[in-house]
């Protein structure tokens, strides 16, 4: 039998008339790196608050390491590390004081678990006497992660740790997560960045309080149901609109310097070439590609609507 670290079974939560999450079920295996992927308002934070026992579900049941989120909240708090979306450390305490504070309330010391945070903490240690409020975004993030880890939690909850963070720091952050996973910590992380889904073992794609799909990133990509092409021409501005008029077109979305074009059936190079040339496009390039998570997410969003 597999051992699950987190099980959510049909949990729901409303704020007044607004349904934040509806019948959410998923399970996270021990030592898994699990991603909740979705835009703002998809319910990611509500799920985190329920699992970390800060919020009661309106319906449903959830457990963390076998403990019930309602009955056994005290046990869950001891074994969880939580990094909320908003920076929640003490601005007027120094870097070191914040870390010491979190170690103390969990009845441990910085020394005892220093091994676990060493790789992350050494990067901010030169600033250990600086007030947390005066740190740059990247450094705040490293301090918050260190504080969430200082009591050696079994499960680490990270709510949008990379939002508003630049591409380089995002890559570094994910490298840190991969290292932590090796140390036997279950990690559940949320993000609005679709490209980060590929770095998780398993993901739940979320939108408006519902799960669109749950699987490994590879399987989600395999389930994409249409042939997908990458198209470029000398008029990238008009290209998506024109491709949408091609018969058998499903969608045409901008993806960086090309358009991702999905069609009902396989199409021939000559057909699309002729179609675009007829509309005055030149330097047309066209090739079949494998979709990425963002392609899949948009397709699932459309099905949902």
């Amino acid at each position: 039998m597999e051992v699950f670290s987190i099980i959510a079974d049909q949990i729901s939560k409303s704020y007044g008339d607004v349904k934040a999450i509806e019948n959410i079920s998923f399970s996270v295996k021990k030592d898994e790196l699990y991603g909740l992927i979705g835009p703002d308002g998809s319910g990611k934070t509500t799920i985190f608050r329920i699992l970390t026992t800060l919020l009661l579900p309106k319906a449903g049941k959830a457990t963390v390491e076998g403990f019930d989120v309602v009955k056994d909240f005290k046990e869950i708090r001891k074994i969880s590390g939580y990094m909320p979306g908003r920076f929640s450390l003490y601005h007027d305490l120094s870097v070191e004081e914040n870390l010491q504070f979190y170690a103390t309330i969990f009845c441990t010391t910085i020394q005892e678990n220093y091994d676990l945070i060493k790789d992350i903490y050494v990067q901010i240690e030169p600033f250990k006497n600086r007030k947390a409020g005066k740190l740059s975004g990247g450094m705040k993030q490293k301090l918050a992660l260190s504080c969430a880890l200082i009591h050696k939690p079994k499960v680490l909850f990270l709510d949008e740790p990379t939002t508003g963070v630049d591409a380089v720091s995002r890559k570094e952050f994910w490298e840190m997560l991969k290292n932590l996973q090796q140390k036997g910590i279950t990690i559940i992380v949320s993000t609005p960045y679709m490209d980060e889904a590929a770095l998780c073992d398993k993901v739940a794609l979320m939108q408006k309080g519902k799960i669109l799909s749950i699987d490994t990133p590879e399987k989600i990509v395999q389930q994409y149901e249409y042939p997908l092409y990458q198209v470029t021409s000398d008029n990238m501005y008009e290209l998506p609109g024109i491709l949408n008029n091609f018969s058998g077109s499903i969608s045409a979305h901008r993806f960086g310097d090309s358009i991702h074009f999905a069609t009902r059936q396989e199409i021939k190079h000559d057909d699309i070439h002729e179609f675009l040339a007829d509309k005055g496009h030149q330097q047309i390039e066209f090739k079949k590609i494998t979709p990425d998570i963002e392609d899949c997410f948009m397709a699932l969003m459309k099905n949902e609507n």
Binding site: P39, G137, A167, P192, H253, G256
Partner: protein
């Protein structure tokens, strides 16, 4: 794009901004052309926000020359503010006012007359297809709508330049693309768009892109040229090469 490289709408020369000993902007020199989409990229802490605040007339440079739409940011700050629109990364409309009230409020601040406000508001509500929602509180709108509305309000007074500070953070992938369609349309109407983003695919949508590293602009060119110069297959790689070299 109908970028007019003859007309320089933002002229920055030798801009320096210091906070105590810390140099946040280290001799920045660059031009932005009228009607272009100019991507202003950089790592966290590279000095982007500091520079944008100066360009918007919200903060005075330590030294250097900055001209916005022909006005000097030291001496003609109020003229600068009148000619620009600004959408901050933090959502900036009033949550407890309705859509209509927010439009009227911001348009009033820019000194538009009642008649102009009414006409443009109707036009705007129609083009966003939210006429039926005009008396809805902002707080009850989904994020994607809020962002589109905040952008529309930032250009409601038809400024020469609009500054967008991470406008698509946290937005779903379809809305994110719709937002860029709005940016394209805005640029086509002649308004210069100055935009920051952490999504590297969005850097590709810009006419030209600058990349800040440690307070300096280390690269400025079209995305195609930058990819060539850095021998990279996309802007993500260009960014990594530059930012990691620091």
């Amino acid at each position: 794009m109908k970028t007019n490289s003859e007309n320089i709408i933002i002229k920055v020369q030798d801009l320096v901004k210091k906070f105590g000993d810390f140099v946040a902007n280290d001799h920045l020199t660059f031009d932005v052309y009228e009607g272009e989409i100019f991507g202003f990229l950089g790592a966290n802490g590279a000095g982007k926000t500091t520079a944008i605040r100066i360009l918007c007339g919200l903060s005075a440079p330590t030294s250097g020359d900055v001209e916005i739409a022909g006005y000097n940011v030291y001496k003609q700050t109020e003229k600068v503010k009148k000619n620009i629109g600004y959408m901050s990364q933090k959502f900036s409309l009033y949550e407890n006012l309705t859509i209509k009230e927010n439009i009227r409020f911001f348009a009033g601040i820019y000194g538009l007359s009642g008649k102009v406000i009414k006409d443009r508001m109707n036009e705007l509500l129609k083009s966003l297809q939210i006429t039926h929602l005009k008396d809805t509180l902002i707080s009850s709108l989904p994020l994607g709508w809020k962002q589109k509305l905040a952008f529309s309000i930032a250009i409601f007074h038809k400024p020469k330049i609009v500054f967008l500070d991470e406008p698509t953070g946290g937005v779903d992938p379809i809305t994110r693309r719709q937002f860029w369609d709005m940016i394209y349309e805005t640029a086509r109407s002649g308004i210069t768009v100055f935009v920051t983003t952490h999504y590297m695919d969005e850097a590709e949508y810009c006419d030209r892109v600058s990349i800040m590293v440690d307070g300096r602009i280390d690269a400025l060119d079209t995305p195609a040229e930058l990819k060539k110069i850095f021998n990279a297959k996309n802007m993500d790689e260009v960014f990594l090469k530059l930012a990691r070299s620091s």
